[in-house]
């Protein structure tokens, strides 16, 4: 969605040479995430409401799992000290030849709040989850 680019979201799309369930196993649990997302993923589970700390290159971020769509999508919010929180969405889809397309979007929360306010015409009337789904 072009809104992302305009609002200053970071977006990455890549096709991974592995089936979706193999990629999902590296997304849907803290041990899997630790192999690539960050050096240390201190979370009990990847389920909505779970929160903890992610450490990468010595930088700690407070992280909260916002949404999980089994086998397909994880949305989380994270925030490094002194920085604006951002929302991260990892989405997996089947690609050709048994491969997996992964889309990553990171969006500063403040940009999402403004866009949401414009979309619904009032501050805070829309629930957070479906807004992220719309992104």
């Amino acid at each position: 969605m072009e809104l992302h680019e305009e609002m200053g979201a970071v977006r990455r799309e890549t096709v991974l040479d592995a089936p979706r369930d193999a990629v999902w196993s590296l997304v849907a649990n803290p041990e899997g995430l630790e192999t690539w997302l960050a050096d240390d993923v201190d979370l009990d589970a990847i389920e909505p409401g779970a929160s903890g700390v992610v450490t990468e290159g010595g930088e700690e971020r407070l992280v909260t799992i916002e949404e999980v769509e089994d086998g397909r999508r994880v949305a989380l919010s994270w925030c490094a000290p002194g920085e604006e929180a951002s929302l991260v969405e990892l989405t997996l889809d089947d690609a050709e030849d048994g491969r997996t397309r992964m889309v990553i979007v990171e969006l500063p929360l403040v940009a999402l709040r403004v866009a949401t306010r414009q979309a619904v015409g009032a501050w805070g009337t829309a629930p957070r989850g479906p807004q992220m789904a719309a992104v």
């Binding site: 305009e6 609002m7 040479d17 193999a22 590296l26 604006e84 929360l109």
Partner: protein
């Protein structure tokens, strides 16, 4: 990532304000009236948008006689761009690590 890009993103999340930024980038020193003449919104609306851009540090006002002329301040935009570049580079690194796991 030593600068908080939040206010800049908030200011740029509105399409009219992005148009104002685009016009000011092309023609520095435009007045609110001149901007209203270029965009399908009222001068009052433009004034509000300009105030928000000023609050975000993206624009400055220069009083010249009875006119107020507006200019862009590039530094906050550069800060927001720097955040995007830094965050994007981190995702590139993470994706490389992920590919090595598969």
């Amino acid at each position: 990532m030593d600068r908080d890009p939040g206010p800049v993103f908030a200011a740029l999340a509105d399409p009219t304000r992005r148009e104002v930024v685009r016009l000011l980038a092309a023609r520095p020193g435009l007045t609110a009236s001149a901007l209203a003449g270029e965009l399908p919104v009222s001068r009052q609306a433009i004034a509000k948008h300009l105030a928000q851009l000023r609050d975000a540090g993206l624009a400055t006002a220069e009083h010249a006689g009875r006119e107020t002329r507006y200019h862009l301040t590039p530094e906050p935009l550069a800060g927001a761009m720097a955040w995007m570049v830094a965050a994007g580079a981190q995702w590139d690194t993470r994706l490389e690590r992920l590919k090595r796991q598969l």
